[in-house]
Amino acid sequence: MQVIIQNIIDALSLGSLFALTALGISLVFGIMRLVNFAHGDFISLGAYALIVPSASPTAIMYIGNWPALATIVAICAILILIAIVCERVAFKPLRGADPSVLMIASFAVSYFIQNAIIMIYGGRSKGVDLWPFLQVQVPVGGIRLQLLQLVTIASTIILLGLLTLFLHKLPIGRQMRAASENFTMARLLGVRANFVIAAAFGVSGFLAAVVSLLYVVQRGTLAYDVGAPLVMAGFVATVIGGMGSVFGAVLGGFFVGITNVFFQVMLPVSIRADRDAFVFAFVILILLIRPSGLIKVKSVEERV
């Protein structure tokens, strides 16, 4: 019984990370039809921003050593800035281009960032210890759970709440939703395209920062592609959940987290390593049977 509860918490915690990642991807896709593969590299950059830029094998914490709140604010600010800059430089000139072209552009950005990280920080992974106070066990109803896992799940729920408020109550959020549904119409009604798109990227940068911090606490090592598995999972989550749907992304994220844990627990050792193949086979199935994902978003379909 204890094991089952622990497995559920594992799944929810993992799912939370994926859901937050998927959210960042989905927000941008909804407005720009851009599948931003560089989102994973935003996450990597957030992690590397914690340390001093140096190629030495030992990581020297800098921003990571500040008081927790200051670190959070700093990393969020840095990633929001990076996301907006990327948008200005790489994606703004391509606005209105075919989604495939945008996806290739995001690959190019990703390739650039990864190689830039190797250039500045070296190719070797570095160990870091961020916020060790989260690495404790808390007794919850007779079972000892990891504080970090609970914090992850709680942060996700809070952020989802905040995001929903943002999208539904704040003017900029409403504008984002309008632009997501019908970009042209929104512009005709006075929504400033540049502002809304920058805002979407800014929010996705913020989400990447949160994921980055939670992930570094747990993983403890930085590598130039540390964000890659997250963006893959987030990407799968977005496809399954419904591209362009915020709620769908979250659903997809938890779904991927749960299936990951499920396969890890249930598959026999010999094919456990083939987990990814199963997950992506499922992606293809979804694309075939219900290409718009679990949550359909009307604006994404083509009219004859």
Partner: protein, 401 residues
């Protein structure tokens, strides 16, 4: 369209002119050793220090008069941590007149260049590949590795745990992403069980896993029923460090053992107050190795590279040159086949890295002693030097699991 064509022609011409600089250097009396290694990309972290160590050896030998009265000279080409570029780097060092070749510290990364060296019939050493396929049965009769097989490295830990520590029960966590870690675990399991140990539980994870929470849950569950003496993790890189971190963060304080991917103690920054951690490595980097040459060597290396060495495999780089020098001296000539014959006669040659033997059928070490180091309060220290009484089973050596 015309402009494009002009640019293309111009580009090719530039290449052609640049390529002219690739042609063989003027013949001189030096013995040329070609280093087809990674000078950029992720593999540099291993090839860099190791090759610097080899250069130290070249300096030392040249200072003593060289080999056959001739100086040793190194030429380089960058594999860029890419297999195709690796083959090209091999061609490049040949074009620069290399009579012997040194390739990357990894079977996969070094395969391209090593194949070139082997096909050119020149003795080719991988700095520290731990895969027996960097040898006769894999690349070819001219390929060698200065390291132990990963199966041996894993077996050494199993042997030490069972016989020196008296540990009887182990839980194994293996990372099946690459051959290296598969070899470590197969060696560990086979020898640990041969020495009377029991594998209580066995689980798999991947280098890229965002979290090993499920694996830890299973670990807790199994070890609650049957407590274990230690946990062996067969992994590498960031995934390995992360696994150790996650296990300790989950409140599991059982001793953890790792292969030589967890060398040094710079990585312990990730895990506060790490204790009860052991790794099988080439030598102790902490200045307390019982072999004085080793401590001296790592100090020299730190001076030359400007950084503390992070992997004791750098010792193997030194020994590669030692091996070449010995074999060339004994052969009396630099002819590839004759030097190869001498290399194949090596029996417990006292190299810096340990007693080294090769035969016409085996170009990697299977029983050379490895060093055990431990971590206490995040700091590393020398524990023991352990050698295997017998080699691990042959089918594991070449096929891993």
């Amino acid at each position: 369209m015309r402009r494009t064509a002009l640019w293309l022609v111009g580009g090719l011409a530039t290449l052609g002119l640049a390529g002219a600089s690739y042609s063989a250097q003027a013949a001189d009396n030096d013995i040329v050793i070609g280093f087809a290694i990674a000078q950029s990309g992720w593999m540099t972290q291993y090839d860099g220090p190791d090759s610097k160590g080899a250069l130290l050896a070249i300096d030392d030998i040249n200072a003593k008069g060289g080999v056959l009265g001739r100086k040793l000279r190194a030429v380089f080409a960058d594999t860029k941590s890419d297999q195709t570029e690796g083959a090209k780097a091999g061609q490049s060092v040949l074009a620069q007149g290399a009579q012997f070749m040194v390739v990357s510290c990894d079977y996969d990364m070094g395969a391209g260049a090593a194949t070139v060296g082997n096909d050119a019939k020149i003795p080719t050493f991988s700095l520290c590949a731990s895969d027996a396929k960097m040898g006769v049965q894999g690349i070819g009769p001219y390929a060698f590795s200065m390291n132990d097989s990963s199966v041996t490295i894993g077996a050494t830990m199993g042997h030490w745990a069972a016989t020196k520590k008296g540990w009887k029960k182990a839980y194994v966590l293996h990372d099946d992403t690459i051959e290296y870690s598969k070899g470590i675990c197969s060696g560990f399991k086979s020898y640990f069980q041969k020495d009377g140990g029991t594998i209580v539980g066995d689980d798999v994870f991947k280098q890229d896993d965002a979290s090993i929470a499920s694996q830890i849950t299973r670990l807790k569950d199994v070890t609650a029923k049957t407590p274990v003496d230690f946990i062996e993790i067969c992994s590498y890189g960031g995934g390995d460090v992360s696994a150790v971190k996650q296990i300790r963060a989950a409140g599991i304080m059982t001793p953890i053992t790792n292969p030589d991917s967890m060398d040094g103690d710079d990585w312990t920054k990730a895990i506060p107050n790490l204790n009860d951690h052991y790794a099988t490595v080439q030598a102790s980097l902490f200045g307390d190795d019982p072999r004085p040459f080793v401590n001296e060597y790592f100090k020299r290396l730190e001076k030359v590279t400007g950084q503390k060495p992070t992997s004791s495999l750098a010792l193997a780089g030194y020994s590669v040159i030692e091996a070449f020098a010995l074999a060339i001296n004994r052969a009396g000539v630099t002819d590839g086949d004759k030097v190869l014959a001498e290399l194949n006669k090596f029996k417990d040659e006292p190299l810096a890295v340990g007693p080294t033997s090769y035969t016409a059928d085996l170009h990697i070490s299977l029983t050379r002693p490895y060093t055990i180091v431990g971590i206490k309060d995040g700091k590393g220290y020398f524990v023991d030097i352990v050698g295997l009484p017998d080699p691990p089973p042959m089918q594991l050596i070449f096929k891993g699991q």
